[in-house]
Amino acid sequence: MSENHTSTEMMTVAASRALKSSDVCFVGIGMPSAACNLARLTHAPEITLIYESGTIGTKPSVLPLSIGDGELCDTALCTVSVPEMFRYWLQGGRITVGFLGGAQIDRFANLNTTVVGSYDKPKVRLPGGGGAPEIAISCGEIFIIMTQTRRGFVDKLDFITSIGHGEGGDHRARLGVTTKGPTRLITDLCVFAPDPETKEMTVVSIHPGVTRDQIDGNTGWKVKYARDVATTPVPDPHELAALREIHARTRRAHGDQA
């Protein structure tokens, strides 16, 4: 690991690079929000960021704590009602990328944010799906950002909150879903992309200093690697400065150690 950046910074920068200026992106709160705003502040200044609270084309100067902070509305091109957001903009097919996180993920990038354990007698009750079940099928493609651990990267999900590639192969298409689903999974160790045939998430790029043993040790299934695995380019000074500045502004604005 480089001494110049943390593994979380590497993950956020790698995730931000997946976005383009031409994207219309439905942004999840937390790590997705940091990555999307970093993209906007660096290589993708024209990107349209949309939060499910109804804010369209928002340009927050600090990262929101919640999905509906006033900052999102104050800096948005416009703000619509929540039913309009889900009906016209998401279901209407106007969003190119949905950026999600999750508590648990499987090899086909299905996500669980609902329960650990059984649904009726959960060991841990998680927040639930929110917008994710429909984001996962209605956005052109899905990027996922998650810290890679054995607890989170599991062989079998306790609950499928939102679909990735389902059981793999052409499962999405068989269910009548026409969008691409997860095309990138960015972690603090590496970047996965779906195998063109099986749709299993496959390592295509490893962050500098990370070993395959580390990746295998933090994954609950036997990880597949692409034939040619790249080394993720390290964050450049401009990206790191922009990321640290927005975090510093956020801490000042929230008045604490957020």
Binding site: I29, S66, G68, L72, C73, F86, G130, P133, S138, R172
Partner: protein, 288 residues
Amino acid sequence: MSEFMSLAAAVEANVRDGDTVAMEGFTHLIPHAAGHEVIRQRRKRLTLIRMTPDLIYDQLIGMGCVDKVVFSWCGNPGVGSLHRMRDAIENAWPQPLAYEEHSHAAMANAYEAGAAGLPFAVFRGYIGVDLPKVNPTISSVTCPYTGEKLATVPAIRPDVAIIHALRADRAGNVLLEGIVGVQKQAVLAAKRAIVTVEEIVEDFGPRSPNLVILPSWTISAVAEVPGGAHPSYAHGYYKRDNAYYKRWDEISRDRDGFLAWMKANVLQRGPEVFAAERKRLATAGSAP
């Protein structure tokens, strides 16, 4: 026509034991003061509906007012779990909590169907996921024109909707803007509606013709409660008290600590504490 009332009288007149109540607000304009009044009046056996149950539902659940929650995302936004709601689901404290879980799209559509007087909502959703296996209210129809199978959920028709708005005029019409969530739909879907407002003005004055305005005749009661959305925020009045959301994580972790806090800050207080918070945040909120 809406009646101007004190918050206590509005809750007394409109919220009954066993009611289905939707206190809506999507991060913005969450009716905290009204929720506290429901707790003070010791309402029981409520079914609470909300897309994003957060602190106020955590408090109602922890105080034993609630039998069932209908929701699509439960949490302390950006902070973590709702400890009281989790304690009720995982350990049945202070009583068992039933829940009916949806996605945001399903609930947004269900509110809209309720407002539109339709029996159910139809949308493209719930594909390849487990919620339909555990929530029997989720069903489907086949489109008669294209053959596409689409998801359905029953319309939401609450006994009472409770929302916080920015202003009411002297005629009892109410105005909101900013992140408007599903509040208009919730009010129009409900049999009765209570609206708390930041202030009552003579007249709304010059304004965009497309603001969200709920006419007086769609509302049962209006109560002026400055700061009534705290610790959420009111567009143009005060900012979200993010520090409070973080403190709640500590306050709510422990049952005794929670009960002591509720006694000191809710049961033994009244809606006037919200005005003090508004004043504090309006002063502190000048820094960007």
